[in-house]
């Protein structure tokens, strides 16, 4: 699909608590829906948090709530799609607040494009065999899931989005059944002896996201 170059504002939020990022997204959804704000891409990391959607099975969190809190991890229910996941330092999180009416008005097409925004740079810049699996939304390298997608749409404006493990302690994922599936989880840095900077990957994914949706980055803060 081809669209006119729409403006895109990119905001780097740094390390921000999950709930705070959710509040900002909801405010931006209203602004984008009524045309006060242009499409906005939030890029951030979160302090350790396990989040679960409304459809999450209780048995997908494998340890007690007390144990989770004892480890200093927050627990939050969210209104995004999908099951349970983990966010924490070393994971790049992307929250596109996009007016989907102007880019196809198609939930699945939108999610495929999010995947593409991560897959293309991983292949082209890092030589990784990143790919998508039919019926298994996310970004995969071999048998490992490295990218996670869970979105919400209100007034045809998207929020929530995609997270990509760059250098995450795998121990945290052992506390949950990610996405409700028996999947192996990895980080980009597991595939290299030299550490890849999270900021480098963020920059590439922002560029690719602008490219796949034919947006023109016009403002915001790009300092990682």
């Amino acid at each position: 699909m081809a669209y006119a170059d729409l403006p895109l504002k990119v905001l780097n939020l740094g390390l921000i608590p999950y709930a705070e990022a959710c509040n900002l997204q909801k405010k931006l959804v209203e602004e984008v829906a009524c045309g006060v704000s242009v499409n906005t891409l939030l890029v951030c990391q979160h302090p350790a948090v396990i989040t679960y959607g409304r459809r999450c099975g209780h048995d997908h969190i494998l340890v007690s709530e007390n144990e989770i809190r004892r480890r200093g991890i927050e627990l939050c229910q969210t209104d995004r799609g999908g099951d349970v996941t983990y966010h924490g330092p070393g994971q790049a999180v992307f929250y596109p607040i996009f007016d989907l009416k102007k880019i196809g008005q198609d939930l699945h097409y939108y999610m495929r494009m999010l995947e593409e925004a991560a897959i293309a740079p991983l292949k082209e810049h890092f030589g990784l065999n990143a790919y998508r699996r039919e019926g298994m939304t996310g970004v995969w390298i071999g048998p490992y899931k490295v990218g996670f997608i869970g979105i919400a749409v209100k007034k045809w404006v998207s929020y929530h989005g995609m997270s990509l493990n760059v250098g995450v302690d795998p121990e945290f994922f052992s506390l949950i059944k990610p996405c409700g599936l028996d999947v192996k989880v990895a980080s980009i840095n597991d595939f290299f002896s030299d550490e890849v900077q999270l900021e480098t990957i963020c920059d590439m994914i922002v560029e690719q996201m602008a490219h796949v949706f034919q947006f023109e980055v016009t403002g915001g803060s790009r300092q990682w």
Partner: protein
């Protein structure tokens, strides 16, 4: 009566699961307010109230899998005329 339908969500999306009702049967809603959330794959989608009025019937309940175009609820539309609205606002 105004029927609330599950809208088209994109190519290849034939069904969605009703995941959350923001209101109960009998509730008063305003046009554009959050009414019901549906889910497909890794996405949730908010279906807004198409008009102001009273939700007289919830047809599709949480957990139900419904097809695109299916009726989710029925709303009895407010019959307040413009002149009455003006009088209320005066």
């Amino acid at each position: 009566m105004v029927k609330v339908y599950l809208p088209e969500l994109g190519e290849g999306v034939a069904k969605a699961t009703v995941s959350y009702w923001y209101v109960e049967e009998g509730a008063t809603v305003t046009e554009g307010s959050e009414l019901v959330e549906v889910s497909t794959d890794k996405a949730t989608f908010n279906v807004p109230a198409p008009c102001s009025g009273n939700v007289i019937e919830i047809v599709a309940h949480e957990g139900d899998v419904v097809e695109i175009g299916a009726v989710l609820a029925v709303i009895e539309e407010d019959t307040v005329s413009e002149s009455e609205e003006e009088a209320e606002g005066a």
